[in-house]
């Protein structure tokens, strides 16, 4: 079975700056795939490379089984794309924009477009220039979805949408994936992505940190919090058996995002004489994202920096670190 997108060792430079560095991943068909990353991580560059806008410096890309460098037009016939700042013709009405786009796609575009306008509650005779940012985003989405594309690539699709429309839009993404279409989206809205994404990839400074099915990732990774009676003593040997994604320390308390936490290791840590208040939590996507994008810090090097990371990562456990954070802030003051 051909994957919807196949990206192999892709690199892209702008001048001396390497924006995408040796990225490899595969997007199966019929899933909602979320690409996460901070501003400037290379998400948009990667998306534009997949559509054939950027000539990549190394590697290979296939979208719907086609090479974007050789068949950019064929890809655009199969892929619905909404950029992060969709620029529609301001003098057109919403209906005219649909009519114009319909000329380049097979029959049936206008019927679907009309239905989407109805769902989004967009007046067909309104001029684009008179629309709000959110309404423009809805028009751009309608135009991208109206020809029933095999693959939908959305760069920050929900920015500007109100909560109700955002919810219904995200639910429609799930329906599309269930119907066999593939949705590839980049976003900063972690809680929204978490609700709809089947797969996630995290891009950080142009490098791919992880790509995995979301459920698998969440079930394989755990947030581990504990306090040490004597912080000068070494961590228990069981701790070394874990695959540590992220670790931080604030005073006596430790916070770690780990993989490979078996019930046996967990039991050993709970019963360890130097540890108390050992808590193991299933992480949410935001914690995973922060864990994978923050630098891994060795316990011996941990200090006040770790405490800020702690408070950011474990939002529901701020109380535990607030005293340390306060002491740090008073030191700074």
């Amino acid at each position: 079975m051909i994957s919807a997108i196949h990206v192999q060792d892709v690199s892209k430079r702008f001048g001396r700056r390497k924006v995408v560095d040796q990225v490899t991943f595969e997007v199966p068909q019929g899933v909602v795939f979320a690409l996460l990353g901070e501003n400037g991580a290379g998400k948009s560059t990667l998306i534009r490379s997949m559509l054939g806008y950027h000539k990549i410096d190394g590697g290979h890309i296939e979208v719907c089984g086609l090479d974007p460098r050789d068949s950019p037009l064929e890809i655009r016939r199969r892929v619905g794309y909404v950029s992060d700042a969709p620029g529609l013709y301001e003098w057109m009405t919403i209906a005219q924009a649909g009519w114009y786009a319909a000329g380049f796609y097979p029959p049936g575009f206008l019927k679907t477009y009309g239905q989407l306008l109805y769902e989004f509650q967009l007046p067909p005779d309104a001029k684009i220039r008179d629309l709000s940012k959110g309404m423009r985003a809805k028009v751009a989405l309608s135009l991208a979805m109206a020809f029933d594309p095999q693959l939908l690539i959305l760069d920050e699709p929900t920015s500007g949408l109100d909560p109700l429309v955002r919810r219904s839009f995200l639910e429609s993404m799930i329906d599309r994936a269930a119907a066999g279409q593939t949705v590839f989206l980049s976003s900063h809205q972690m809680h929204e992505v978490e609700r709809v994404a089947d797969w996630v990839a995290i891009l950080h400074e142009g490098k791919l940190q992880i790509v995995a099915p979301l459920e698998e990732l969440k079930s394989s990774v755990r947030v581990l919090n504990f306090a040490m009676r004597d912080p000068l003593l070494a961590l228990p040997p069981e701790f070394d058996q874990l695959d540590i994604v992220h670790q931080s320390q604030a005073g006596r308390t430790h916070h770690a995002i780990v993989r490979g936490l078996t019930p046996a290791i967990e039991a050993a840590l709970v019963q360890h004489v130097n540890l108390f208040e050992v808590k193991v939590v299933r992480p949410n996507l935001e914690e995973l994202y922060l864990g994978f994008t923050q630098p891994l810090t060795a316990p011996s090097q941990l200090g006040s920096v770790g405490s800020s990371a702690w408070s950011r990562v474990a939002g529901d456990r701020v109380d535990a670190s607030s005293s340390a954070a306060k002491s740090n802030s008073s030191e700074v003051a």
Partner: protein, 505 residues
């Protein structure tokens, strides 16, 4: 929701429709403005000798003006507004997109030419020239217009594809094409003219042949470069920037300049002047280069040509601010509109002043007698353009509107004032014709004052209230300035100057 108000059409129909709608207003403005000018020239024949002969010139120049405007709208404006990005994300090949744009530009140019050729061909030539000579003129003019139109399209498309600011692109393209045309033709004439005459061609035909071949050469180079640039731009999208250093979006550049200047010194004036200096630097440099063409006396460019660079400098004061929404950045920081306007006008005026000071010490001193009218004309062009740049969001529209308004106002003003002077001479006023002309010019500062006041008034609306109803401001200001000017002249002529029976005829 099973019905949709429109029926699906073919790809070519959609592309041509979209491109036509983009240039529709430019076509109406240029063809309508040209026609109005031709009609006014017919009327002006009463006071000026042989002005009707300028009507074929309008039919020749107007298609070029339309082509320049179309290039700005179809490439420059699409890129600036971001619609290029969406259009190129549709499954349209670059060949189809380019063909549609070229067809619309050329068809619009030809339609403009045909509309404006009606008056010279039907009304003027038949009485003076035999029909076979008219046919020859029409055929040769058509060939020249098509070659010139293609040249304009190639170079203006090329510049708009490479340079982000539409107006800057158009001015640089105009400058480059003029210099290339004149320089290459002059070189070719120097090299090949004598040889062709020796081969038996008449000097006139040799000169025509060399000019034509040079134009074809320039056209071929421009077309190839434009095709490469269009393919590159269409397949890489509007964001790819042809430059040597990292791309910095305009808003970021503005904010960086603002923050950087603020760190250096908190004085807002310094920040504003710095922003005004860098925001249209290339455009202002191009305008200055365009003005310097007047220095080359051998090219025979009249002093009045300085009106064009003056108008461009006026546009440069505020050009791009609306499209790039830079003013939002400043408005959000509570910058007083009058400060912004003063800094922008100040920098653009400094360029004007520099230009005039250079001219003063140039070989053009011979034209000192014409300084006053030309200066007045240039200042008016500068202010009309600056007001258009504030009032119209798209730089190309601002440029077209400023040109049409300025020329239209002149076409109303000149016959009106000459009619008044004719009447005053009949009444026996003691001033001669030239003195009356100078007296009429003294009212120009009043028109300038009106325009200046409206610029400051409009700026408040522009920066604080997001530019609502500004085109109305422009129209009212131009009509008011024109009316006050004419009324002022008439009052001087009829009320203030006493009649002298000794000089009266």
């Amino acid at each position: 929701m099973d019905t949709f108000p429109l029926q699906r059409s073919g790809q070519w129909y959609c592309l041509l429709w979209k491109d036509f709608m983009q240039v529709r207003s430019t076509l109406i403005a240029v063809a309508g403005g040209g026609l109005a000018m031709q009609l006014l020239l017919l009327v002006a024949e009463r006071w000026f000798d042989d002005v009707q002969q300028a009507t074929p010139l309008i039919a020749y120049i107007a298609p070029m003006l339309f082509a320049i405007g179309a290039c700005g709208m179809l490439v420059g404006h699409e890129r600036q507004s971001g619609s290029w990005e969406w259009s190129s994300s549709l499954p349209v090949s670059w060949r189809s997109a380019l063909t549609s744009k070229l067809l619309i530009t050329l068809a619009g140019g030809i339609v403009t030419c045909i509309v404006l050729a009606v008056i010279p061909v039907v009304l003027l030539l038949p009485g003076r020239l035999p029909i076979d000579k008219i046919s020859l003129i029409v055929v040769s003019m058509s060939g020249m217009i098509i070659v010139a139109l293609l040249e304009v399209v190639a170079y203006f498309f090329l510049a708009s594809l490479l340079i982000r600011e539409t107006l800057t692109a158009l001015v640089i393209a105009g400058l480059g094409l003029s210099v290339a045309q004149v320089a290459i033709t002059a070189m070719s004439l120097a090299i090949a003219s004598n040889r062709l005459v020796r081969w038996g061609l008449t000097p006139d035909f040799a000169s025509f042949f060399i000019t034509f071949v040079s134009s074809l050469g320039i056209l071929a180079i421009g077309m190839v470069a434009m095709l490469i640039a269009f393919h590159w731009r269409w397949t890489t999208g509007q964001r790819t920037v042809f430059q040597f250093r990292a791309h910095t979006p305009a808003a970021v550049a503005s904010s960086t300049a603002y923050v950087y200047s603020t760190i250096e010194s908190p004085a807002s004036w310094r920040v504003l002047i710095k922003l005004a200096s860098v925001s249209s630097l290339w455009l202002q440099l191009s305008a200055a280069a365009l003005a310097s063409l007047v220095f080359f006396k051998s090219w025979g460019i009249p002093l009045e040509f300085l009106v064009i660079p003056s108008g461009i400098l006026g546009l440069s004061a505020f050009q791009g601010d609306q499209a790039n929404q830079r003013y939002h950045f400043l408005a959000d920081r509570g910058v007083a509109p009058w400060k912004l306007v003063l800094s922008r006008l100040g920098v653009a005026s400094a360029w004007m002043l520099g230009l005039w000071c250079t001219m003063l010490y140039s070989p053009l001193a011979f034209a000192a007698a014409r300084w006053m009218p030309t200066t007045m004309l240039c200042c008016l062009a500068f202010l009309v353009s600056a007001l258009a740049a504030i009032c119209f969001r798209k730089p190309v529209v601002a440029m077209t509107v400023a040109t049409v308004a300025f020329i239209g106002a002149l076409m109303v003003y000149v016959p009106a004032v000459h009619y008044g002077m004719e009447r005053s001479r009949q009444l026996g006023l003691w001033l001669d014709y030239e003195s009356l002309t100078k007296l009429a010019q003294l009212w120009s500062p009043l028109a300038m004052l009106v325009l200046l006041v409206v610029i400051f008034r409009a700026a408040r609306r522009w920066i604080v209230y997001d530019g609502l109803h500004l085109p109305r401001y422009f129209l009212v200001a131009v009509i008011l300035a024109l009316a006050l000017h004419i009324v002022g002249v008439f009052i001087t002529l009829y009320a203030l100057l006493p009649a002298s029976p000794s000089i009266a005829p």
